[in-house]
């Protein structure tokens, strides 16, 4: 593949992710509204929101550090775009020869949106945003540990393959990892981390989108706010998709595609359901929750995976 094709592909895939991501945020809002006896917004609502924000004035607060304030959202967007590009490429072309990125790259890039939010929040020089940023930081520290452990489970199962395409091929030929106890536990961990990475209830202490004030984003307006919203929407698609790749063998091809989409939708439904049936968790409790329960589950999963590998028992 030459560079030009790659660049074009990158933009097409990023745009596609953004569109589908925005649609999924709509599903989320619609489900919430139906639970509350309301009709909810029309399907194009997230698009209208983003386009509208692009046309608004961008205000940089006096006390804010201007460069950091404006660059932060772009860092987040760049991170999530690259991740989605890598993941989609792996899904569509698992055996592709060109090296674009492996598991390690994805893990790093997925931290970028959270970092961007933290920088943005700190740069806006608003006490509320600072509180939000410090919470986001704590939360990121909290969920990264089990998240990495979850990936370790995948690595043990795959025999150390770091290539996403390799993981997909291996699962498509040798059965999905989730069809084992350790894989199932890893999936639970993955869903909870997804919830936190998406900043969804119960782990939305940092942003508190439903809580009206918006925390970190309180000082953002216009285009940078739109970029943050877009980043969030793309994460909505990308993070669950990453889990699908890691544990459920990707989307597949031909007749496998509807099934693959179903996998993603299943994960999304889990996320939306958790969001709608739980009140917000205090940040300390979120940290304790991730370092305690979730990490414990992840460690058990790792142990089982190692045991399964040693003894050659597939279902462990």
């Amino acid at each position: 593949m030459n560079i030009l094709v790659l660049v074009v592909l990158f933009f097409v895939i990023s745009a596609g992710t953004a569109v589908v991501g925005l649609l999924t945020t709509w599903i989320d809002r619609k489900v919430t509204a139906r639970v509350q006896y309301r009709l909810g917004p029309p399907w194009f609502q997230p698009f209208a929101d983003v386009v509208k924000l692009l046309g608004k004035e961008t205000i940089v607060p006096h006390a804010a550090s201007k460069a950091a304030f404006l660059i932060s959202p772009l860092i987040g967007l760049a991170g999530v775009s690259l991740v989605s590009f890598i993941i989609w490429l792996a899904i569509f072309d698992p055996t592709g020869s060109g090296f674009i990125g492996d598991l390690i790259v994805v893990i790093y890039l997925l931290i970028l949106p959270a970092l961007a939010m933290i920088f943005g929040g700190l740069a806006s020089a608003n006490p509320l945003a600072s509180v939000g940023a410090s919470r986001e930081m704590k939360l990121a520290l909290a969920y990264e540990l089990p998240f990495i452990l979850m990936i370790v489970v995948v690595l043990i199962k795959s025999g150390g393959t770091l290539s996403l395409g390799g993981l997909i091929s291996a699962q498509q030929s040798g059965g999905v990892y989730v069809a084992s106890i350790s894989g199932l536990l890893a999936l639970v961990v993955a869903i909870l981390c997804t919830q936190a990475k998406l900043g969804q209830v119960p782990f939305d202490a940092a942003e508190a989108e439903t809580e009206l004030t918006g925390g970190i984003l309180i000082e953002y307006s216009g285009t940078p706010l739109a970029v943050f919203k877009l980043t969030r929407a793309m994460l909505y698609l990308t993070v669950p998709m990453f889990t699908v790749v890691l544990l459920c063998g990707g989307i597949g091809s031909g007749w496998g595609i509807p099934l693959g989409i179903l996998k993603y939708v299943g994960l999304l439904v889990a996320v939306v359901l958790i969001r709608n049936t739980n009140p917000r968790l205090r940040i300390e409790h979120a940290v304790k929750f991730f370092w305690g329960h979730v990490t414990a589950i992840a460690i058990i999963a790792v142990a089982l995976a190692v045991l399964g590998n040693r003894l050659g028992i597939g279902w462990l």
Binding site: G40, V51, K52, G55, K56, T58, I59, L212, S221
Partner: protein
């Protein structure tokens, strides 16, 4: 009609600002607009908490001497284009509190620009929705 305006009419985020002297009824009717019977989220209207995200300020109540500087400051913090809707008789014309000794000598629409008036005491939620729809309609002309 530009895309920018079109998007604005489809996604007006509103910030609710009680200017001070009010009986609170307009404020409650504004909240009522969000609840199941009226559900303005159908039209993309969302009540937001940061004035930086606002496309429209819904102002209720008379401006008192004490709140006048705050009201002006909040208007200045809003990103433009931003619309101001005066909700209820007090915000439109100072209503019956015009002669109060705490009323700001300058009414709301001389303090900050007001783009639409929704009269009523309090205006019914339907009236508010109609007022906002009319205001948005006037943008697209």
């Amino acid at each position: 009609m530009s895309l920018k305006i079109k998007a604005l009419t489809k996604s007006p985020w509103v910030y609710h600002l009680c200017a001070g002297g009010s009986c609170n009824n307009c404020d409650i009717e504004i909240l009522d607009c969000l609840t199941p019977r009226f559900d303005v989220e159908r039209f993309g209207v969302t009540l937001i908490g940061s004035v930086r995200h606002a496309d429209a300020l819904l102002v209720s109540g008379i401006v008192t001497k004490k709140t006048a500087p705050l009201v002006k400051q909040i208007w200045e913090q809003a990103p433009k284009p931003c619309l101001v809707v005066a909700i209820g008789g007090c915000a439109c014309s100072q209503g019956m509190f015009k002669d109060c000794y705490t009323a700001n000598p300058v009414p709301l629409d001389e303090l900050i620009p007001v783009h639409a008036y929704v009269p009523g005491c309090p205006p019914k939620p339907e009236t508010m929705i109609a007022g906002i729809v009319k205001l948005l309609g006037s943008l697209t002309k």
